[in-house]
């Protein structure tokens, strides 16, 4: 009735048993890439753009970390929702594990964006925090991440916690755009043009390169930590299976 062999082919790496060693091989690669790219991006930003920045704008150097983490924070939310959705549709355990592994790294990125953003704010506006739409959205994003993690850790039963948090992520997906709209445009009478000019357009191309390279490095970092966390989750959940007890690291 079911296309069984198809299923096995398609879902080969969706079995934690197969995914675990694969992830183990990928992690060092991602770490290397992350260090290299972040190093390169920051080197570029700190040493190759000095002439562009006149003395008042030195603080622009925060942008490399700030923008990279801000982007990652948003991207990882999308990734998390995608995993959750796949999990709910195909009922694959691994997708749920990936979703929860992504959430924590996303939270870390959000925190970095908020902290570096706040520091930037102190340098450029003279205040640590302002209730500007972008910042507020980010704060709310942090709350939503935290809610996801809190729900997950409040439920012991892994099956329930997987599905419950996935559903929450989906609900979040539906509401987050509305929140974004509401925060950006609290007064619908004056909100004809939502598309304010992207701040990116005002950035020098030279700085942009550094930013993009750093962001790529942050991507690699996220891959690495997500895979590490996924492996931990797999070990924890499958600790009584025979394949885990045959693992090299267990028998050492």
């Amino acid at each position: 009735m079911y296309p069984l062999n198809m299923k096995i082919n398609w879902f080969k790496y969706s079995a934690p048993m197969n995914f675990y060693p694969l992830a183990g091989k990928l992690i060092p690669i991602f770490w290397l890439l992350a260090i290299a790219l972040i190093g390169l991006g920051l080197y570029w930003g700190f040493f190759k753009t000095a002439d562009i920045l006149n003395d008042q704008k030195q603080y622009y150097r925060i942008i490399y970390v700030h923008v990279a983490s801000a982007w990652m924070a948003m991207w990882l939310y999308a990734v998390m929702v995608a995993w959750a959705m796949i999990g709910l549709i195909f009922n694959t355990r691994l997708s749920f594990m990936m979703a929860s592994a992504t959430a924590v790294t996303g939270t870390v990125m959000t925190v970095i964006a908020l902290v570096t953003g706040a520091i930037w704010g102190k340098t450029s506006w003279g205040t640590w925090w302002d209730w500007d739409p972008k910042l507020t959205t980010f704060l709310i994003l942090l709350f939503i991440y935290i809610g996801y993690i809190a729900l997950q850790s409040a439920i012991d039963d892994t099956r329930r916690s997987d599905k419950a948090s996935a559903l929450l992520a989906l609900v979040g997906l539906a509401i987050v755009p509305v929140i974004y709209y509401a925060v950006n445009c609290p007064d619908p009478n004056e909100c004809a043009s939502l598309h304010q000019e992207s701040s990116l357009k005002r950035v020098e191309s030279n700085i942009l390169i550094g930013m993009l390279v750093t962001t790529l490095g942050f991507w690699m970092y996220s891959f690495a930590t997500i895979l590490m966390r996924a492996r931990n989750i797999i070990l924890e959940r499958e600790r009584n299976t025979s394949w885990v007890s045959k693992l090299e690291e267990v028998n050492r």
Binding site: D55, Q56, Q58, Y59, R61, I62, V65, H66, S69, V104, T105, V108, V111, I112, V115, T116, I119, W120, K122, T123, Y221, A224, T225, M228, R229, R231, N232, L235, E236, R239, N240, V244, S245, E249, V250
Partner: protein, 56 residues
């Protein structure tokens, strides 16, 4: 060199931003490694327990 660290008066801010990012991005993998060790230790303990029991 000190001029580089000074960064036109913004050194403290820039470096503290970098430091927080670095700190968090080192802390996260460190926690992961610690967690991995504890999970592995747990698995080993379960295994020992089973072996002891099968001998019983």
């Amino acid at each position: 060199m000190s001029e580089f660290f000074h960064m036109g008066g913004f050194g403290a801010y820039i470096w503290s931003a970098m430091a927080t990012a670095l700190f968090l991005m080192l802390l996260e993998p460190m926690m992961l490694v610690i967690k991995r060790r504890s999970v592995l230790a747990d698995i080993k303990r379960i295994k020992r327990l089973e072996e002891r029991k099968s001998r019983r």
